[in-house]
């Protein structure tokens, strides 16, 4: 009995640690397939809904490509109060122009930075890309200082199924971009796996 218990708990632990990416096989693929999904945010306004730990925060997210090729993200509420203003520079550097006191926490800023880094797809031309596949999907994986960014397309490469921020073994966040019009996705969704935090963005025509 004892041995059985031990065995089953070992199995449970092993299963718990099993990698969500272990089944992937090396594949040949073309990174250029990803290029078509990279959003062209020359300037785009989104209606944003953020749900965090049972609280809903609505607002407007403005994304603008600046003349120096950096991208600015400004999140404010409908009445005009600014929650944050971030800059993603071309060289991967990141700057906080402003953030409201209640949000000004290292972990919050880091999470938002990484979430939007994944979505903006600036790093997809990194030559270190690892391309793998399973029966139906192709994974383009990029190693980060901690963990990976995965872009997952269908087999033919014509559809971006989802994006993931992941540890070595499992996704910590999943994101989607749907219904592109003139290079701008109409819908962007971000869902965290480890805690209750989602961001939904819907493009506003001005």
């Amino acid at each position: 009995m004892m041995r059985y218990l031990l065995l089953s708990s070992c199995l449970a632990i092993l299963l718990g640690c099993a990698s969500a990416y272990k089944h992937l096989q090396p594949a040949t693929g073309d990174v250029r397939n990803l290029q078509q999904f990279k959003p062209e945010f020359s300037v785009a306004l989104y209606k944003a809904g953020v749900d965090v730990a049972g609280n809903h925060l609505g607002g407007l997210l403005l994304i603008k490509k600046m003349p120096d090729s950096s991208t600015r993200l400004v999140f404010s509420n409908e009445i005009g109060f600014k929650f944050f203003d971030f800059e993603f520079a071309k060289d991967g550097k990141f700057k906080v122009f402003s953030i409201m006191k209640q949000m000004d926490k290292k972990a919050v800023i880091k999470t938002l930075r990484k979430d939007f880094e994944l979505v903006m797809m600036e790093g997809i031309n990194d030559p270190g890309v690892l391309i793998r596949k399973d029966s139906g999907l192709v994974y383009y994986s990029y190693k980060q200082s901690k963990g990976y960014y995965h872009y997952i397309t269908n087999k033919a490469g014509g559809e971006l199924i989802r994006m993931e921020r992941a540890s070595k073994r499992k996704p910590v966040m999943e994101a989607i971009m749907r219904n592109y019009k003139n290079g701008i996705p109409d819908t962007i969704g971000i869902t965290h796996k480890n805690f209750n935090f989602t961001i939904g963005l819907k493009h506003i025509k001005r």
Binding site: E78, I79, D85, K101
Partner: protein, 211 residues
């Protein structure tokens, strides 16, 4: 030495000029204005208006314009309905705030959030003409031919972090607010302009009901 004097004088002069608003002169008799303002706004029981809101993001050279409808009723009732380019509804009923954002509805007790309470007070004060007595601000008043410009500079901590100043332009004819401009510390600003104002029409209380 004389040069230095001259330059400092010039700097002082430009500073003094910058602190003013073009076309406006500062009122010296604030007490008289306060009395007149408060007497006039006593008579304003309701305001119904359309509004155009313009958020200027200075560093991004970008403008977000939205439009909607506005209702105010004495005491402390405000309904703001954004209809373009997005739907958003905010109702202030005394110290409660209701927000409808798409399908999501949110009730916020202004009492639980000090900053929200202060910001609410600004909106209501601007309508009721009590902004001059709000201890959260230092006030200066300017005038031109047709309007007064009430400049509110926050003196308390939370508001000071958010706003450099809030300017309310008031129509001389009926002392109603033409516009509210919130100038942020960052250089960005938000201007809400009231157009097609109707004063003292009868407004149903149901407009301000928080369910």
């Amino acid at each position: 030495m004389r040069k230095i004097f001259f330059i400092s004088f010039l700097l002082l002069a430009t500073n003094a000029l910058l602190a003013q608003y073009s076309g406006y002169t500062q009122l010296t008799d604030l007490a008289k204005f306060k009395t007149e303002f408060s007497a006039a706004t006593q008579k304003t029981l309701t305001v119904k208006s359309n509004f155009v809101q313009e958020k200027n993001l200075s560093m991004l050279s970008e403008k977000i314009v939205s439009k909607g409808k506005f209702w105010f009723k004495k005491d402390n009732l405000v309904r703001m309905e954004y209809i373009q380019p997005f739907d958003y509804l905010m109702i202030i009923n005394k110290d409660k705030v209701f927000v409808k954002d798409g399908q999501k509805e949110n009730k916020i007790s202004a009492r639980s959030n000090k900053l929200f309470q202060q910001v609410n007070k600004i909106m209501i004060d601007c309508m009721q003409g009590s902004s001059l007595n709000n201890p959260d601000f230092k006030t200066r008043v300017f005038e031109n031919k047709t309007t007064f410009l009430v400049e509110l500079v926050p003196v308390v901590k939370g508001l000071k972090d958010l706003f450099k100043n809030i300017n309310v332009v008031v129509d001389k004819r009926d002392y109603s607010a033409n516009s509210i401009e919130m100038q942020e510390v960052s250089g960005d600003n938000t201007i809400i302009r009231f157009v097609d104002k109707e004063l003292n029409t009868s407004l149903n209380d149901a407009l301000f009901t928080i369910k």
